[in-house]
């Protein structure tokens, strides 16, 4: 298990989480998406040992698919198709990302956009 703890999840989970949240929330500000991904990675790093092992294996598979030509479309398909086991990974990343986005910015719309607030208006 020391081996699993030494495998950083950011390079494996980050790119898929980025793709998934960009797909689900096309209007979400990239800086906010980055924060949500960072949160997701932190939670994956803290998973119980056995679960983290399984997640790392699946995350590596998804990361590999993203790297090959046409892999993007395969990942997009997997993100929309609830397959056993693989689907659980998608579900976890989605749940963590959504929980973070909507708790941190409760007025986020369904497409990820946010109403303009006073803070956004230049002085």
């Amino acid at each position: 298990m020391l081996v699993m703890r030494s495998v950083p999840s950011a390079p494996l989970v980050g790119p898929f989480a980025d793709r998934l949240l960009a797909l689900d929330f096309p209007a979400l500000d990239p800086a906010r998406r980055a924060q949500a991904i960072e949160f997701t990675i932190r939670r994956v790093d803290g998973l119980p040992s056995v679960i983290r092992f399984g997640v790392t294996v699946i995350a590596a598979l998804f990361r590999g698919l993203l790297a090959v030509p046409g892999g993007d479309a395969v990942v997009r398909f997997l993100a929309r198709t609830p397959l056993p086991l693989l689907g659980e990974y998608v579900r976890m990343v989605r749940s963590l990302g959504y929980a973070y986005i909507f708790e941190t910015w409760p007025d986020t719309r369904a497409d990820g956009s946010c109403p303009v607030t006073q803070e956004d208006v230049p002085a």
Binding site: M1, P48, Y98, F102, T104
Partner: protein, 496 residues
């Protein structure tokens, strides 16, 4: 907080209590007040209640194991949460109080051959507990989310009631101004006042007994990196780490007979309901529950801040997404069942965390299906305009006519099933084919090691188990004190 001990290479105590939740804190307080030299080892940090928002992601980071992302593997897997902080689950749970169900206790006594279990004694202890943790109903009106449960149940003529909580409300306060009377505010200060010491951020990896003493090998720190270790030697150890960590520690220490083989939970499924008015209360939970179908099935309300509403909608996001923009008009409800299924907790050599599995029975799946449909009906009767069940392929329910479709499409394997009540991994009793500990929590076949937490409850009690855990813990601690008094009647049991 006075009573917190600095980390040291080697510590000694007469009694080591592992864990500081509902079982550990009560055990520590009673033993310290009886004159024992008590040291508490808590894996998590001390977090003052006022410094964290209830049910927030920040709270999950600081006070839950693995940030709240823990799961019992199965089809479906069941998400669960464990408190990992001083006070354990009492710091993070709903604070809803149920007296020990005496009919269930009587069945446990008979089926598991629990010697000396007097239901009247347990009932008296419950009276004590209620005073100690200030069990009370909310002042004034309940929150809108709670009122919905009451209204829906009343319309259907279903049995329902307001559940009291372990809370203190300020004069003139309302339903959301209460302070939870958790272990860090009640039994742990009592333990410190009687001389108990406490180590936080201290994980007990294993126990080694030589017949005279037990040595606990510990690591210090938050568990994320390599940390210095130490040892605590004690004459007696009470393991009170909860229904997952307690059997895992015993197994790592070589104790395996009927340990971790009978995990019982109350699986729940949920839905989000939308109303015409703003009903959402972000950082509190409804106090009404519906018990028309209890003990098989109960309905209640969950914390419902915007992030949790989004989470409840993710299973069918492509259909449900627009609803998130109305989260202030939405709130989350659950249907919890008494399960016939069972799970395992298995420590794996060289692996830090145990493997947890759970298997729902066929009957469990059917009760979850009918439970979710009845819950949807209840919210419709209470005035919900739209109901969003949390499972893949779920329809939006807008009226009674949609309930049949919802039931048809439901399968437990497509649902987000979760639980917060974990128990029964070291059942107590003299039935040697089923029980991991004796009638008072001493681990069968082990020297000087006791269990005193939710692990001991022979089955899931069908209600929030905290009061039952506390009542059993107090009963067992008193028995230990009496037993030790008989063995050493003329010596000062206290500090050495």
């Amino acid at each position: 907080m006075s009573g917190i001990e600095p980390h040291q290479i080697h510590l000694r105590a007469q009694v080591l209590v592992v864990g500081s939740g509902a079982g550990g804190a009560t055990t520590a307080a009673l033993l310290a007040e009886a004159g024992f030299d008590v040291l508490i080892a808590e894996e998590g940090p001390w977090v003052d209640q006022d410094t964290v928002t209830a049910f927030s992601l920040e709270q999950m980071d600081r006070q839950y194991r693995s940030g709240g992302v823990t799961v019992a593997l199965g089809l479906p897997s069941i998400a669960y949460t464990e408190g990992r902080c001083a006070g354990g689950g009492t710091e993070v749970n709903s604070g809803l109080y149920f007296r020990p169900p005496l009919d269930v206790v009587e069945r446990w006594r008979r089926d598991f051959r629990i010697d000396g279990l007097d239901v009247d004694e347990l009932d008296d202890i419950a009276d004590e507990v209620e005073l100690a943790i200030n069990v009370t109903t909310v002042p004034g009106n309940a929150t809108p989310a709670s009122e919905i449960l009451r209204r829906g149940a009343a319309a259907l003529n279903w049995r329902h009631s307001e559940i009291p909580r372990w809370m203190k409300y300020p004069a003139g306060g309302d339903a959301i101004t209460g302070k939870r009377q958790s272990m860090t505010r009640t039994y742990l200060p009592r333990a410190f006042a009687a001389g108990a010491r406490m180590l936080v951020d201290t994980r007990v990896d294993r126990l080694v007994s030589n017949g005279l003493n037990v040595t606990a090998h510990v690591t210090y720190g938050d568990g994320t990196g390599r940390t210095p270790g130490g040892a605590i030697t004690a004459a007696h150890v009470f393991v009170c780490g909860g229904a997952i960590q307690t059997p895992a520690l015993l197994q790592r220490s070589g104790m395996r007979l009927h340990i971790g083989r009978s995990l019982a939970v109350h699986p729940t499924v949920k839905l989000s309901a939308k109303f015409a008015d703003e009903v959402n209360v972000p950082d509190d939970v409804p106090v009404h529950q519906v018990k028309e179908f209890a003990p098989d099935l109960s309905f209640g309300g969950s914390a419902s801040h915007s992030g949790l509403v989004a989470l409840a909608l993710t299973d069918e996001w492509k259909t449900f997404a627009p609803a998130i923009e109305d989260w202030r008009r939405m709130t989350i409800y659950y249907a919890a069942i008494t399960s016939e299924g069972r799970g395992w907790v298995q420590a794996i050599p060289k692996v830090r965390d145990p493997l947890v599995t759970y298997r729902l029975s066929h009957r469990d799946r059917e009760v979850l299906r009918s439970g979710l449909a009845r819950l949807a009906l209840l919210t419709l009767e209470a005035g919900a305009t739209e109901v969003y069940p949390s499972f893949r392929g779920a329809p939006v329910v807008r009226g009674r006519g949609d309930l049949a479709t919802m039931q048809e499409r439901f399968a437990a394997s497509k649902a987000s099933v979760m639980t917060v009540h974990l128990c029964s991994t070291v059942p107590l009793g003299e039935h040697r084919d089923r029980c991991g500990a004796d009638s008072f929590g001493k681990v069968h076949g082990a020297d000087r090691v006791w269990v005193n937490d939710a692990s001991l409850l022979p089955t899931a009690p069908g209600v929030n188990p905290q009061a039952t855990v506390m009542a059993f813990a107090i009963r067992n601690a008193r028995h230990f004190i009496e037993e030790q008094s008989l063995r050493q009647p003329h010596t000062n049991r206290g500090r050495t």
